[in-house]
Symmetry: C2
Subunit: 503 residues, 2 copies
């Protein structure tokens, strides 16, 4: 099937042009809302064509930069290409591209790290400035002009509604069976006109399967046929398997105590090898009829749908390894009945997450002995990716896990530290910390009680004595003993790593 046959609206077919011609319609200085959430559903050709245009401008000594707003992370042909030519003035709300990250940490690109549920409303509120252009991948256009969404929804509804001008990429590589899988909610409003979001079960559909767009705003349509791009996962290593084991044991314990139903509550899982190991563990575990209310559907959840363990997954995007993507696309007609893709303001909505009682499982960079979590900044200053939806889920979850191996860099870094070098999740929002060493259940514990459990259960034996020594000396000498600290030493571990290469 050629891309052309995906554009059923005759008037819109007249707007088909090349990626280069479409990129030429984006001037310097504008804010561009692009589709894309993880390496799924991002525009595949216009951003790279725009990057080339920017390179040309630079070669002639002209400054050419834009603001780039997305759903979350994208792929090399978007973030990588635009960062390579230094074409991004301001990036938001999340990224994970190596070139982009390098620019940001070199101070060459501004970056705002935003709770993913806050992005769309901040644009509607007018808090982020004017959105000039939307560049959105879709998998087709209906005869009446409505758009069939692609493999991620992200903020696309908001970009299409709020942008002055719209450029569409119609990607014929996307599976036709995506049609009908999406649930685009058009019931949001500005305060004081908001109503309850009427989701009460993971599989509730509250919207429609298509985006609406004012055809007069569409300035270009570009046909593409290119694959989504996500990295392969590594097979779960020993450490990830242990973390998964601790979580499963804990969940079984909670069910036994009557604090969780037998089929648990809707699962949220971040991306990455540890998250995938936990899902693999759940797939072999004792729980049946599970559901997921999460941001991204990754390999582990696909396996759970296949095995029948997971009856429905609600997300805003796919985040599948190449092999899992092939598998999904070979049988999408079957899978589609178990999957709902929603706008990220709904997939990550505090109201819905709290109502459903989600079990949130997210990775982190480091935790401190009192249960504060750093999800974003290496040694306090270098951004890794961003907070993403972890705050939306952790704050509003029924149960919230943060997971990391106890050490990094071959043992040079302890991921349990006296004081985190940057705080993304405060002591008020962190219930359970898990490393391969064990699990610290912080519910109902004061900071001093937490410290003992975190050090004892989660720290690597190599760092445990030094952590306990810090805690005990803090207890003796701290001016206040609600959260004992020695401020002269609190960040010394990080500083030692920066100076000597080990904590």
């Amino acid at each position: 099937m050629s891309a052309g046959t995906r554009i059923l609206n005759a008037a819109l077919r007249s707007k088909i042009m090349s990626a280069e011609e479409a990129a030429a319609l984006i001037p310097s200085g504008v804010n561009v809302g692009m589709s894309g959430f993880t390496g799924a559903g991002h525009p595949k050709s216009v951003p790279a064509a725009l990057a080339k245009r920017i390179m040309d401008a630079n070669l002639y000594g002209k400054k050419f930069k834009i603001g780039v707003w997305t759903g979350a992370s994208t792929a090399p042909e978007l973030d990588g290409a635009l960062a390579m030519v230094d074409g991004v003035e301001m990036r938001l709300p999340y990224q994970s591209d190596p070139t982009c990250r390098k620019r940001i940490n070199a101070g060459e690109m501004e970056y705002i790290d935003i709770h993913l549920s806050h992005v769309a409303q901040s644009v509607w509120f007018g808090f982020l400035g004017k959105l000039d252009v939307a560049v959105v991948e879709v998998s087709g256009i209906l005869e009446d002009g409505r758009l069939i969404p692609s493999s991620s929804v992200g903020n696309n509804k908001t970009w299409l509604d709020c942008a002055d001008k719209v450029i569409l990429e119609v990607n014929s590589w996307q599976h036709p069976a995506l049609e009908g899988m999406h649930d685009i909610y058009y019931g949001t409003a500005l305060p004081p006109h908001r109503k309850p979001i009427p989701i009460i079960k993971t599989d509730d559909r509250i919207g429609e399967p298509y985006f609406r767009v004012d055809p007069n705003k569409i300035i270009a349509i570009v046909e593409t046929h290119q694959t989504d791009r996500n990295s392969a996962f590594s097979a779960p290593d020993e450490s990830s398997r242990k973390i998964a084991g601790h979580i499963l044991e804990f969940l079984e314990h909670e069910v036994a105590k009557g604090r969780l139903p037998k089929n648990l509550l809707p699962l949220q899982s971040g991306v990455g090898n540890i998250a995938n190991a936990v899902l693999a563990g759940l797939n072999k575990g004792p729980f049946e009829n599970l559901t997921a209310y999460t941001e991204v559907l990754q390999d582990g959840m696909l396996e759970m749908i296949k095995s029948g363990k997971l009856t429905v997954a609600s997300a805003t995007a796919f985040s599948l390894s190449p092999s899992a993507l092939t598998e999904l696309n070979s049988d999408l007609d079957r899978f589609k009945h178990n999957i709902i893709l929603r706008p990220q303001e709904i997939s990550n909505h505090p109201e819905v997450i709290r109502r459903l009682g989600v079990i949130a499982m997210n990775g982190m960079i480091e935790a401190d002995i009192y249960g504060n979590v750093n999800s974003t900044h290496v040694m306090g200053t270098k951004i890794m990716n961003g907070i993403g939806g972890s705050g939306d889920f952790a704050r509003n979850a029924f149960l919230s896990f943060f997971m990391t191996p106890s050490q990094a860099k071959g043992g040079e870094i302890s991921c349990i530290v006296p004081m985190v070098s940057h705080v993304d999740h405060t002591e008020h929002d962190v219930q359970v910390i898990v490393t391969e060493q064990g699990l610290a259940d912080l519910r109902g514990l004061s900071p001093k009680q937490r410290a003992k459990v975190v050090i004892e259960n989660c720290a690597h034996p190599h760092f445990k004595p030094a952590l306990m020594d810090y805690y005990k000396r803090s207890l003796d000498h701290s001016p206040g003993k609600q959260t004992p600290h020695l401020l002269e030493e609190a960040l010394a571990w990080h500083l030692r790593y920066l100076r000597e290469g080990q904590m």
Copy 2:
């Protein structure tokens, strides 16, 4: 009217006893859920009688400690009395009593600082352990056994539902016209059975005016006739008036830009002199037909109801100075039509706060140049009061302000610092910082952009050069430049204050 005539249920009248007899029914080692939110609606006599019992036990060498759970802060005859005799093993979720605070910071009392919206559900989830006894002040008992709530609602519904045993204090000092003012919502549930909270306007009533309680659980009823106790506010000082002025100017600007309706959006205001100054400013300001969706109704809001500026205030408690309380009680029949008191899980519910688009205004201890806020810990280790509802509101608000004078301790302390010594609200949740020096609008700014605005607009001139120097050197030498820091200096200002008495 004597307390006796407030107890219309004949069977329950048989359970009337003295405070001492009731206190004798509370054994050591139990968790007690007490009423009270600010100095309103707390039990006035049983806690002090219990404190005397604990003192007696201590005199005979017996350990006697209980867990004390409340709505928020209380008064000397509860927190003060129990802390004085070292009778509290674990305190949650908020306190502001000097004796209590001293015990906590001396390491003699465990304290868990919890988002106020999280407390009730954590008890229902079983995360905080068993609630053994409820001690709840009410203003009357109906013939059918239902209870007329007092001047605060807090977590009383949950305490009455979840505790094994219930002790009631019927306080005939509370105004009879409180009857009908409350809106007790019985629609909450455990996941997966939760439904939307059906509030869509500040003045929506979704519950009933009375508490239900199983009469078989009631083990004692104590009659009291004692006043609520809150401190007087000082008249707004120069600094508070300037902060109020900056906020008013900002709100007018937002209305002019079309980002806020003319009558704004529902107001939330923390307690204290700055908050009261802002309300006094609003009372003289250009905005009409305002509403409040907040935790506590303080003097400033009462003035706004009187002037007609505020049409309705929804809260969970009164927090009125003695003179304002006298005024309220002299005309409660009139005021009651403008006031709704709800359980704190509803007054602080993220779902409702986000839906209504609340304008949140909260005080803080310090902010750092990147917009992280410390609301709780002096110099990182000593708890002041607690996070209270500030996180519930700030994260979910339409607009969120954090306010402080730029200096404390007569200029020895800068309230704008390179890095906060404790984080309660992260960069992701802080939109506007205000001091008497000016206002920093952080919306849509990257951390580096924020630093310049915070230093320029909010820091005291005395500290501005040193802050700018820190920022510029960080920009040169920080390993990462997303959030530039020099870790060896980041907490040096606090350390210098601890060692030398000035930053």
